[in-house]
């Protein structure tokens, strides 16, 4: 994977974020953008930038005046693209031991009556939060993003799972479609690439 180095040493905010964003926007394929900064605030802001575009991020401190932030972007043109343009070819080898992923694609469980479906979903998420071991990840898309807002009766259980280390991935396009982007209060807002990669890495996918 290509690596691009951004030297933002000696730059005050917001310059490191702008320089890094420009580097990401200029990408035509998946790459690692490695930004060097000299203050902890720039690190925090770069972590927000990475999380905002649904990219993985790792940071490294070399003393108190040199930090390295690596942002792994998975698709073309950073935040500009939210689609599968450059997603890798998926390999289906779900037979081996792998991660357990909960797939929530609606806010109801099963088809028939939605009132019943909602009650079932609440019970399902609660039961999932009591599993031992817990699932490794939860992906929420389409109506499933409604489960991640504070008003949802599934919210507390999802929050508890997140606090216990379960990775919760919320489809950004879907949240935006339902006008819920600012209300999603559990998990990380992410993109199709991340959702597919998580499902692809799963050894077992559980659907309500």
């Amino acid at each position: 994977m290509e690596k691009i180095v951004v030297d933002a040493m000696g730059k005050a905010c917001p310059a490191p974020v702008i320089m890094t964003k420009k580097a990401i926007d200029g990408l035509s394929e998946a790459a690692v953008v490695e930004t060097h900064v000299d203050n902890a605030i720039a690190v925090e802001n770069l972590k927000r930038l990475a999380s905002g575009i649904g990219a993985e991020v790792e940071t490294e401190a070399d003393g108190e005046s040199h930090y390295v932030v690596r942002i792994k972007t998975g698709y073309a043109n950073g935040a500009a693209s939210d689609t599968l343009v450059k997603a890798p070819v998926l390999q289906f080898d779900a037979c081996g031991p792998g991660k357990t992923v909960l797939q929530l694609s609606a806010d109801v469980m099963g088809a028939g009556n939605d009132e019943l479906g909602k009650a079932l979903m609440k019970a399902f998420v609660y039961a999932a939060s009591q599993l031992d071991p817990l699932p490794d990840a939860v992906v929420c898309y389409n109506g499933g993003v409604r489960l991640t807002i504070p008003e949802a009766d599934t919210f507390a259980d999802l929050k508890a799972m997140e606090e216990a280390g379960v990775r919760i991935i919320v489809c950004g396009t879907c949240a935006n479609f339902y006008g819920l982007t600012e209300k999603v209060a559990v998990g990380t807002i992410s993109n199709m690439y991340d959702i597919l990669q998580t499902l692809n890495e799963a050894g077992r996918i559980i659907r309500p």
Binding site: E44, R48, V184
Partner: protein
Amino acid sequence: METNIRLTKLADCAGCGAKVGAGTLATLLEGFRTRQDDRLLVGYERSDDAAVYKINEETAVIETTDFFPPIVDDPFLYGQIAAANAMSDVYAMGGEPKLALNIMCTSKEMPSETVREILRGGYDKAYEADAVICGGHTIKGAEPLYGLAVTGFVHPDRVLLNSGARPGDVLILTKKLGVGILTTAAKADLADPAVMTAVYRQMATLNKGARDAAVQFPVNACTDVTGFSLMGHSCEMAQGSGVTIHLQTDRIPYYKEAFDAAAMGLVPEGAYRNRAFAEPHAAYAPGRGIPLALEDILYDPQTSGGLLIALPEREGEEALRRMKAAVPDAEIIGYVTEAEEKAIILE
């Protein structure tokens, strides 16, 4: 007016983000001899917005000053915002500004027409506030600065402290949050100019309308939300009053665009300082999670922010209704209870 220089590029920090932290200040002032005076109703140790000195049974004088580097490139607007911000502390004490002195520093890159426009902005706001600019002091320096030293008056029995909030009060905030984040985004040319026009207009709006509406009600506490952010100023109010403040985060008015900018990492340094100061005194309500970008907005340093007013719940709706006539973005954003373990609960 057209000018080729970009004022904000001449400054390191923007607006109230340039403020030195409260902890740093306390250390600097430690151990100095000071005179005691019973007529000094509000002094430094109260962590309030301005000093208040009682002259007689009818009149107390309010003293305050505020100045900062350019927060916007338009010099007239910069002057308006700096003046509105400086006079805000008088309104936050429940008083009215009457006299003001210019405080100014000009850098060598600034044409005299730019300097004149900044001053014109200040005079414009002083006129609107029924105050008189009666002098001042201007020096040359590395970075431009502008602001006012303001004298105001208030009846000694009607001083609005930031430490009088009582259980059963509701809290009203009169301007939207997110100004610090958006000016950071604007500095990087990443903010929508139409949004910034609204932001600058809000910053240039005097807190006079909010104050005039508030003093018609039995207000228990009042402060203006500036460099220490909603969280920092709420924390001071809660601790000073010996109560806990519950902030209902879904009712807090803020610029939606600030949320997006924060999620992109355009969070000013002051917000991290404010978080370090106030976060240890705050807790989430059970089962409540708040998006990080919204938290950043709550810790965002505001320049010329709105008033934060605590008054009995039964008066809340009527006070809000009357306030909205002057400041339409005002909202009830929380309530006050007896002191709990933390000074602030985020709901």
